[in-house]
């Protein structure tokens, strides 16, 4: 089964390298919704996220020759999508990385809940760009702090700080939402 899957992937890859339009369309159909979801986690505006996905697909098809086949093709393509989103944020918005750390919100997060009822996208949309980028790269893309620092061209300490602050902010937003819901019910 694995062999069949591998052969299928290799077939798609070889056809993509030949710039086969049918293979390109198949690859697009398979991944567009996933990639748009990734892009949307970085860019709150759907239209702008779609623009990034378009650019990412163009880059994928153009630079498919540079994919050596060491890893997963989808993973490689996903990285391109992420980089495209980061470039978009950098070029269109001024990103401020705040270094000061305050653990003021921690006291509010003592309510341990095993079941979460929240929309992750809604929470992420409320994060500042700097926080969101670091949080997404660390939590969703599973980058290390060093990789984040290299990608965003920031220091290691700033990366750690931004992640901490992003998490705090998310929890704060989450609890605010919960409080609102409780008040509405009452």
């Amino acid at each position: 089964m694995k062999l069949l899957f591998k052969n299928k992937n290799e077939d798609i890859l070889s056809r993509l390298k030949k710039q086969d339009p049918v293979a390109q369309k198949n690859f697009y159909d398979q991944n567009v919704m996933k990639f748009l979801s990734v892009a949307k986690s970085y860019i709150s505006d759907l239209y702008q996220a779609e623009d990034c996905v378009i650019k990412a697909f163009c880059k994928i098809f153009k630079h498919i020759e540079s994919f050596r086949g060491d890893g997963n093709l989808e993973g490689w393509a996903r990285r391109i999508v992420v980089n495209e989103c980061l470039n978009f944020i950098k070029s269109h918005k001024t990103v401020f990385y705040l270094d000061d750390v305050h653990a003021s919100v921690l006291e509010e997060i003592h309510d341990e809940q095993t079941v979460f009822d929240f929309n992750a996208q809604e929470l992420l949309d409320q994060l500042p760009d700097a926080y969101r980028m670091v949080f997404n790269l660390y939590v969703i893309e599973e980058y290390s702090h060093q990789e984040i620092a290299d990608t965003l061209q920031i220091s290691l300490a700033v990366s750690k700080t931004q992640l901490f602050r992003a998490k705090e902010k998310l929890r704060k937003i989450y609890f605010q939402q919960q409080k609102k819901l409780k008040n509405e019910h009452v």
């Binding site: 979801s37 986690s41 098809f61 341990e112 992750a120 939590v139 969703i140 998490k167």
Partner: protein
């Protein structure tokens, strides 16, 4: 506390990973349009490269072709230039044959004169005072020697190329005969011309 943190992050990651968003517009047509716009410059560049390669190969071929042609022609030019020099230095077959004929005539003349001398016991006076009667065999040997010596000289005389090809020099047979007979007397000047010094006082 940690459980909450971990669970929260895991939940966020899970939601984002599992989520799929349908595009609000036709992205594929835009991708196709953009990729089509991107592809032609690459192909143009390739065509430019191909054209450049073709031009280079044609130019190189032309250069090589003309070079070989000129190299083929060049010996002809040298031959044409050398010819007059050969005439000048009495080294061509014609010039060699002519003196033989002349020598023959002269020998005959001398022979006839010798007969006359025998008959009349008179001294033979030739145009020049020091004309030595050379037998035909000796002359031919001398000429052969000349040919043997002169042949490599012709190849070595590169200065002859300076002489225009069209300008042909004709050798007077009598002068030629004189030059052969009085080889010892002829001296070369610094300018390269041959000068014969004849002492008329010697008896």
């Amino acid at each position: 506390m940690n459980t909450f943190k971990d669970n929260f992050e895991i939940q966020v990651k899970k939601q984002i990973d599992e989520r799929e968003i349908t595009p609000s517009r036709d992205l594929w047509s835009e991708i196709e349009f953009q990729s089509q716009n991107n592809v032609p410059p690459k192909s143009r560049l390739n065509w430019y490269l191909v054209a450049a390669c073709l031009v280079l190969t044609f130019s190189l071929g032309a250069v090589l072709f003309f070079f070989t042609e000129t190299s083929k022609d060049s010996p002809k030019m040298v031959q044409e230039k050398v010819k007059p020099m050969v005439n000048e230095n009495v080294k061509t077959a014609e010039s060699i044959h002519q003196p033989i004929m002349i020598e023959d005539h002269k020998v005959q003349e001398v022979k006839s004169l010798a007969v006359q001398e025998k008959k009349g016991n008179q001294q033979v006076q030739t145009a020049s005072d020091e004309v030595k009667v050379v037998p035909k065999e000796n002359i031919s040997e001398k000429i052969k020697e000349k040919i043997q010596i002169s042949e490599p000289k012709v190849l070595a005389q590169i200065d002859s190329s300076k002489v225009p090809a069209k300008k042909k020099r004709y050798v007077d047979p009598s002068t030629l005969l004189f030059s052969v007979e009085h080889k010892d007397v002829i001296e070369k000047t610094k300018e390269g011309s041959n000068v014969a010094t004849i002492d008329l006082n010697i008896k």
